[in-house]
């Protein structure tokens, strides 16, 4: 499997009246062909800005990619001209968004909205693109697709609209699909269907997927690797099993501990106390310092670097909670084998 995407030291900021919002602060990661990467972090941690920066979808101004590179299939997307990046968007990199209610244009038929990408990138005429749109809609599980193409988004349920979004994101057979919290706005039962659908399509089409969520539970079953983001930075990155079994970062640890579990009757979920730092005024040390149960004085002074502690497992933390800390039980350790 070849390397599809390599992000190095990406930095995105918003220049607002209140100051410079450091939304994405020096993140690096990679993705192989066909692989699934999960990006997890609480709301506001820079997940959306991070992935939208890949295809330069952030609003400029006030946003700006101030540093780093995004090497996709050997080309630096950050350095591309507007025309070049447009030929990547929707074509080689597809994207689906969080809220299917607002992400589709209410005044255009769903067919029109899918066809326009096909006509643009694949040079199809109306008849061809329509035929392919019907096929795509069938593939994402919309029955009677031929009769549905000329309907408007408001005539579909939330789950069906997200299927339409997926059909749109996949229309030009992208090498990479970015899914930005595609299940967050949906009912739990429908969430599972959407996750399953994307997984199945990924098997059929062989594309790589970046799956963003604030819910570690959602990506646990589908991702090969997981990146945990906090305040625009990577806190921990590891293959999925390793992360659940041997998470080293106190923040990851907190996220895992806050997952509901079937085998614990006690019912009380742990949560991480406090709020994330102000991105306009980031602390000099570790951004998680204020909320960390294990903090030491050094954490406040010096920002920890992302170190590879075992092959493929990176952590940005000064301490090793598994060694240094008092007894902390690892909640998922035993079920994950």
């Amino acid at each position: 499997m070849g390397r599809l995407l390599e992000v190095n030291n990406l930095q995105t900021q918003f220049f607002t009246q209140d100051g410079v919002v450091q939304a994405v602060n020096d993140i690096s990661f990679y993705l192989d062909e066909g692989e699934t990467l999960g990006i997890v972090g609480e709301s506001g941690s820079g997940k959306s800005v991070g992935v939208m920066s890949l295809i330069r979808l952030i609003p400029i101004p006030p946003g700006k990619i101030v540093g780093g590179e995004v090497i996709f299939d050997g080309q630096n997307l950050v350095k591309m001209t507007d025309n070049e990046i447009r030929s990547v968007r929707g074509n080689r990199i597809g994207m689906i968004f969080q809220d299917p209610m607002t992400s589709l244009n209410p005044v255009l038929t769903i067919g029109r909205q899918i066809m326009e990408a096909l006509e643009l990138h694949m040079g199809m005429d109306k008849t061809q693109s329509r035929k392919r749109t019907v096929e795509l809609l069938e593939k994402v599980g919309i029955s009677g697709a031929a009769d549905q193409v000329d309907r408007y988004p408001h005539q579909f349920s939330g789950g069906m609209r997200q299927r339409v979004m997926i059909a749109m994101g996949l229309s030009c057979n992208p090498q990479l699909l970015i899914a930005d919290e595609p299940t967050t706005a949906l009912d739990v039962t429908i969430q599972a269907q959407i996750v399953e659908l994307v997984q199945k399509l990924q098997e059929d089409l062989g594309m790589a997927v970046i799956w963003i969520t604030h819910d570690l539970g959602v990506v646990a079953g589908i991702a090969d690797r997981i990146i945990v983001m906090y305040a625009g930075q990577t806190m921990e990155e590891a293959p999925v099993r390793e992360l659940f079994a041997k998470s080293r970062h106190p923040y990851t640890h907190g996220l895992i501990a806050s997952l509901p579990r079937l085998d614990q009757r006690s019912g009380k979920l742990e949560s991480i106390e406090g709020l994330p730092p102000d991105l306009v005024d980031l602390p000099k040390g570790c951004p998680f310092y204020a909320r960390c149960k294990y903090r030491i004085p050094k954490c406040d002074k010096q920002r920890p670097k992302l170190d590879e502690i075992s092959p493929g497992h990176y952590v940005a933390c000064h301490i090793d909670i598994n060694k240094d800390s008092i007894t902390t039980e690892h909640p998922w350790e035993e079920d994950k084998e």
Binding site: G90, F97, S103, N105, P106, Y152
Partner: protein
């Protein structure tokens, strides 16, 4: 769709009726009457009585209103005694009624059968038996003007509405052509020089009254540069009604008269449209579906044209309805400045003249245009936004 339109039109009837009733009784409630003065002098009581009798003003209010709405024919059956004191001479094609000379043409008068109908009212009857007289609003007869005694309200509207409508429609067109693109440019280049320029011009356009802009344009383009005539649009042909039909229509003459008044009125309108378009465009381009469109790799122009424009025109369409109704029925100030014989002045003057029929006629005309343009707006909504169903 067809059902919707029919249902809406049926719904107009009670609305128009209420407008008519309220206007009628409200205008009667104003102290004074149409015959209080002739010029500066007040008229003798006798004459006023006579005139009031002639126009049925001595009837009780409900009867006046009924006859106005459905016509005399259905309201009363004998009218001889109503007209006893009217003094009439007939000379050939002319009739002299209470000293006013009227032309007997078959549109408004019929003399053959021995009675004279004028503006829907029987004013002279040789036989004891009167025939049906006033046609009533339901048959499109808005009655005689109390002030312009040789003309009916229909005559006045027929004379003045075409010019007012042309002025209004051209100004709206100018407003749309300038305002919408200016609003889009301002929104897409938010907080740049283009935005500030468009916003500045829009604020100027909204705040400079036509009372100032009109004379300024006249001084510059008519007096100093001499490019366009000062006034008198519509005083001579060519008129609008002929312009699409007549071969060899004198466009240059027509537009040289039209351009200054249209610009005077159109500037303010385009400023309104520009501000509305800018505000709604700014909101729409932050919507999620615009981000989706960009994520598809569409060119920015396609994103704006195909995905943003239709959505952002909805507020513009909303004000288009009332705006069209009020502009088409005339704009007093612009018409006065450019010496246009438009309908605008009658809205104002008819009230101070207590010209009840003209007050009612102009108000009804406005009401009808308003409900029709609102129907048009609703149809436009449904076309712009498929979520709106016409039911």
């Amino acid at each position: 769709m067809f059902k919707f339109i029919v249902r809406r039109i049926l719904g107009f009837i009670p609305v128009i009726l209420s407008v008519a009733a309220i206007t009628f009784f409200a205008s009667k409630a104003i102290p004074g009457g149409p015959f209080d003065f002739a010029g500066d002098r007040s008229l003798p009581e006798e004459v006023v009585k006579n005139l009031e009798a002639k126009y049925h003003l001595d009837w009780p209010g409900w009867k006046q209103f009924t006859s106005y709405m459905i016509g005399d024919e259905l309201t009363i059956f004998r009218t001889k005694h109503e007209i006893d004191d009217v003094n009439v001479f007939i000379e050939g094609d002319k009739a002299i009624v209470n000293g006013n000379v009227m032309l007997l043409d078959n549109k408004t008068l019929c003399k053959e059968s021995g009675y004279i109908v004028y503006g829907g009212f029987t004013i002279f009857d040789l036989d004891t038996e009167a025939c049906g007289t006033s046609q009533g609003v339901i048959r499109g007869d808005l009655g005689p003007s109390f002030r312009y005694r040789a003309r009916t309200v229909n005559d006045i509207i027929n004379e003045t509405l075409p010019l007012s409508a042309q002025l209004g429609l051209w100004s709206i067109l100018v407003g749309l052509i300038i305002g919408i693109p200016a609003g889009i440019v301002a929104a897409l280049h938010q907080n740049t020089i283009w935005d500030y320029l468009a916003t500045f011009v829009a604020v100027m356009g909204v705040s400079i009254p036509s009372m100032v802009l009109g004379p300024v344009l006249i001084v510059i383009f008519a007096n100093n540069l001499g490019w366009f005539p000062v006034a008198q649009w519509g005083a001579k042909p060519p008129y609008f009604e002929n312009m699409f039909l007549t071969p060899g229509f004198d466009w240059i003459n027509y537009f040289s008269h039209a351009i200054l008044p249209v610009l005077t009125l159109g500037t303010g309108i385009s400023a309104v449209f520009a501000r509305l378009t800018r505000a709604s465009m700014l909101q729409i381009i932050r919507e999620d579906f615009i981000r989706t469109a960009r994520a598809k790799g569409l060119h920015e122009q396609v994103v704006i044209w195909r995905h943003a424009l239709r959505n952002s025109l909805i507020p513009v369409v909303t004000i288009l309805g009332p705006l069209a109704a009020s502009l088409v029925t005339g704009t007093l100030i612009v018409e006065q400045i450019f010496g246009l014989n438009g309908l605008g002045k009658h809205f104002v003057q008819s009230i101070s003249n207590r010209d009840y029929a003209l007050v009612l006629g102009t108000t009804l005309l406005f009401a009808v245009l308003l409900v029709i343009s609102n129907l048009f707006v609703d149809i436009m909504y449904a076309w712009l936004d498929p979520r709106i169903r016409l039911e």
